[in-house]
Subunit: 218 residues, 2 copies
DNA sequence: GGGCTTTGTATCGTAGTTGTAACAGCCTTT
DNA sequence: AAAGGCTGTTACAACTACGATACAAAGCCC
């Protein structure tokens, strides 16, 4: 279980973050000001902290000083996306920053990326496979499976959206990058085939004709 | 149940949208201005928001900033169909836009398309059949039914507009694409037949002579 | 640079899907 | 009741999409 501390004085924002991270499988704690945040930090171990810079009482920079010695990675949340703020945050040792307003995808991506860099990630399971996005490992029945980077990304997408039919476009976009608009190549099919072969998941990964692919539920 | 937030200050328009979406099976909430919309957003989870850009108080762009972080897809409703507005809306992260005045069919089509792209398929039920547009599956008495893509789309249309007689033109347009203006082929009848046969729905799908087809209500 | 892995294109075969043609039967109007 | 248009059904041929293999290009690690 990955514990995340959210320090943010705007309830609207903190609730958004909490909701989305909780839904993504993280355990969240929210603090509205620097003082209570410091208390929480003293009493608990966190795997990640999201800090608003501008806070009543102790500000984000102060909290960073508490957290860094503990080895807790920090992502700053800042309203002003000025270069100055950004540089200042990173200079002081933040792992990343995110500018309000932000897209939820971006938030999740950064959280995951930071956790990954720090050796922590979310763990997903489907059938006989356990995928650890932090450690970048895939185990099948406890035995490691050797996947290439793209195969890993593809599997991650399928597992993250288990049961849903994912459109070819969507998969191309999420695995190969947003600029890619290919629908006429066999690349995706090829990678699906390689996944099926490596995992012996010929039945578990279902083809949805003319739509895309879907990871069986159950 | 799919929840849709409609933010629109012209009662005539908002009522029109609400009526049609409600009839199509969505649960709607209407807000007349940006402030109340923000309140609603805070207190509820929505699966989709339809935002008029020009609003008293907070405008559509402001609301977009609240909604995007939550992962709520957004469709802008704009009076001015200028290229500039469209681009601006999409650039800021809207999923789609629709220009006033609009056809109801277009509205429904865009709503559906956006929901689908965002993986929020609706689950509909009629008689012994459950259709999940997200997973792209159809179950009859719990057993999966194998439908081809066009059969699936056709069934989806019938179920979404249960009880209403759908014109042949309308069905052609929604299933086969808007550019198609064929009324002289047997294609639609053929697909209706295939649906009736696969689902044993000889009575449930009714023929409306000279008009089109209708899915029986009860 | 050499050998390895990874990736993507080209290609072919196959399975699944689709629509037209053709005809039979039905509905409605006159 | 007859005529004329509409719909139901079948069969088949064209078409599209996917699975699979081989191979070449690109990246990577010594």
């Amino acid at each position: 279980m990955i514990r995340v501390l959210i320090v943010e004085d705007e309830p609207l924002i903190s609730r958004l973050i909490e909701m989305n991270l909780t839904r993504a499988g993280y355990r969240c704690t929210v603090a509205n000001d620097g003082k209570t945040a410091a208390d929480r930090i003293e009493q608990n171990d966190y795997d990640l902290a999201l800090l608003d810079i501008m806070l009543p009482g102790l500000d984000g920079y102060d909290l960073l000083d508490y957290l860094r010695p503990q080895g807790v990675p920090v992502i700053f949340i800042t309203a002003k996306g000025t270069v100055k703020d950004r540089v200042e945050g990173l200079r002081r040792g933040a792992d990343d920053y995110i500018v309000k307003p932000f897209a939820v995808e971006e938030l999740l991506a950064r959280v995951e990326s930071v956790l990954r860099r720090n050796g922590r990630g979310s763990v997903m399971q489907a059938f006989d496979v356990v995928l650890d996005s932090g450690a970048h490992t895939v185990l099948q029945n406890g035995a490691p499976v050797d996947l290439t980077p793209n195969e890993f990304l593809l599997l991650e997408q399928l597992m993250r959206n288990r049961g849903a039919a994912l459109y070819r476009d969507t998969l191309y976009e999420r695995v190969w990058g947003g600029d890619r608009a290919e629908t006429d190549t066999r690349t995706l099919d090829l990678h699906i085939m390689r996944l099926r072969r490596k995992l012996h998941w010929y039945d578990h990964i279902e083809t949805v004709y003319r739509i895309g692919y879907r990871l069986k539920k159950e």
